[in-house]
Symmetry: C2
Subunit: 357 residues, 2 copies
């Protein structure tokens, strides 16, 4: 079903009167259906004042919808000629940033539009401001993630490996009503937690290890993403405790300043300054956060480079971390929603130091 | 290390004097290294009479090589300006068919070349004719696959599910020297074999079930892909036996006609006619084969639509199948190499009806 309000927001933001959306995530955002065309062409042509046109290979299927004209093609059809029937050739066409040259160059050679520009910023900016339906789904997805975290920590016992723990997470998510992962779960013990991109391996848990879970699920297509760092059977060493509390304070102080109109770089700086003043600045090696929605990483981030201002409806992560290569690592990540007058942390799982096992 | 002979074959086939290769599989084919840039730009600029230039984000790394000029860039660099330093702006640039609009449109807007054309056919056609080094790796990859098949069938026992069997295949491949899968293995019991794209689920084996394995591994980057259909504890019903023998005959008769100069559509027709004459034509629902190499599915296929002629060095699958939805399915697939005077079947695992368990 066409999400008309979203389409209208996009066309108000677009610099073009016709826009070809081909990213399956953006198509899902607009029609509520996942269509994975693989190498085949999939396009949703948005047009000011006219019905959108969904162009889809007949191997796939979209629900019928009065608000959309759906055109099926077969593998032997000429996509460019088909597009030419719907694209106005005396106007500019905005195209998706991911549109591959194998589709774009034939459109240009046959001049199906008067010019071609990148058009997906209007989609990206619109997706970055979640509407009520999306906020409800994002809350639910993070609620499942909170409940899953409480179960994941119980999977840790003597002799278990990261891989064995990770292998049990899908079933827990499904039992809580999620469709699946929003990304492959990160389970990292001890010094493995010092690698922000560590993938679960055969490392066996040891007493005193940090246990980092960076995990997320999908609910009705919408992603969650949270990180917590526990300690196994023994509390942290004094240095690990100091690091944990710095990361926690970076997370919480950055969250506290959130509201519409704040430059994202200032939020990143707040967290970064806390960690730097604590003496660990060089070990916080990534941006503070990323946007999230129907994709785990969406357009927009909380980084030194992003001078844009936050808006009500933005949902992004706040995930400071400190990583001593080969020694120890700690990250605390929540998803946050910017509200009209402040913020809402979508994750309720506590930030306290927690000894498990 | 630059595979100079491959690069020269590509530039002889190319319609342009400069060609920008961005597909990571094609880059691997040319330099022997896998670089997965994710959303970041990766390009190998091939130029007639000049050194190729590899443009790569500094988050990644390529081995030093005297034959290539390697240029690293950072996330804050302007890719278009960087490309403009190496691309001749008074000549056409051939671009990769997968190059996304977010890179291509800025190149066009800044006119870094006098024109832009799709250039990857020259790469695809070159990749479709394997050289000696590739043929040796493809033979080895299929040899591992043959030995793996003999072990996979032993995983079937009362009570086992498709998912449990599939979960053990990676370890077997690794123990035989493969790096991993060339695609997620298909393990299908009974009527699940009637869906050519079935993914392993919790179906438990039953006596009399067909057991279909469509599996492949990767060896030094090169893919194998084979299908065999066994029967569990009991031979096939008379109809299943008839179907099996038709599929086997379609496979073997199509293979026997292989040599350089045969139109691919004729090979597809040979197999299809046998199945049609046997009365099951409507249940053979896909093309007879696909090309394969550093990707499981490469450019080129054995289908009714492909009127091109086979050449020595082509490697593709021959995989007839018959699928009665919800009842039974059977497929027999080998990889074949076209030689100067005929063909070589890369898979040695027999085609006979085999009762396992």
């Amino acid at each position: 079903m066409l999400k008309r309000e979203r389409m209208e927001r996009i066309m108000r933001a677009a610099h073009q009167n016709q826009l070809l959306v081909t990213d399956p995530c953006a198509v899902f955002y607009l029609i509520g259906e996942w269509i994975y065309p693989g190498e085949r062409f999939l396009g949703l042509l948005l047009r000011k004042e006219e019905k959108p046109v969904l162009i889809i290979n007949s191997l796939f299927h979209a629900e019928e919808d009065d608000q959309i004209e759906t055109v099926y093609y077969s593998d032997t059809d000429d996509i460019t000629a088909l597009l030419a029937r719907y694209v106005k050739n005396d106007e500019i066409l905005g195209v998706d940033k991911i549109l591959p040259a194998r589709f774009l160059i034939p459109m240009m050679e046959r001049k199906i539009a008067s010019g071609f520009e990148l058009g997906s910023e209007a989609v990206d900016f619109t997706r970055a401001v979640k509407d009520e339906e999306e906020i409800a789904l994002m809350r639910k997805s993070s609620d499942i993630n909170d409940r899953a975290m409480a179960l994941f920590k119980r999977l840790i016992h003597d002799g278990v490996t990261e891989r064995e723990v990770a292998a049990q997470t899908m079933e827990i998510y499904r039992s809580l009503g999620a469709e699946g992962f929003s990304f492959e779960p990160i389970v990292a013990f001890g010094k493995n937690a010092a690698d922000p991109h560590h993938m679960p391996d055969d490392t066996v848990i040891q007493e005193g290890d940090a246990v980092l879970f960076d995990v997320g699920c999908r609910y009705h297509g919408y992603c969650s993403d949270m990180t917590r760092t526990f300690f196994y059977k023994k509390g942290p060493t004094p240095e690990a405790e100091r690091i944990y509390n710095l990361v926690r304070s970076a997370n919480e102080e950055a969250e506290k300043m959130l509201k519409p109109g704040i430059p994202f770089c200032d939020v990143d700086k707040k967290a970064r300054d806390i960690i730097t003043e604590g003496g660990y600045g060089e070990y916080f090696t990534h941006r503070l956060g990323h946007f999230i929605g129907v994709e785990d990483h969406e357009y927009g981030d909380v980084s030194q480079a992003n001078t844009r201002l936050s808006e009500a409806g933005n949902i992004h992560s706040i995930e400071p971390g400190i990583y001593f290569p080969e020694i120890l690592g700690c990250r605390i990540e929540d998803l946050v929603l910017i509200t009209e007058d402040g913020y809402e942390v979508l994750n309720r799982y506590p930030h306290d130091i927690e000894i498990i096992g």
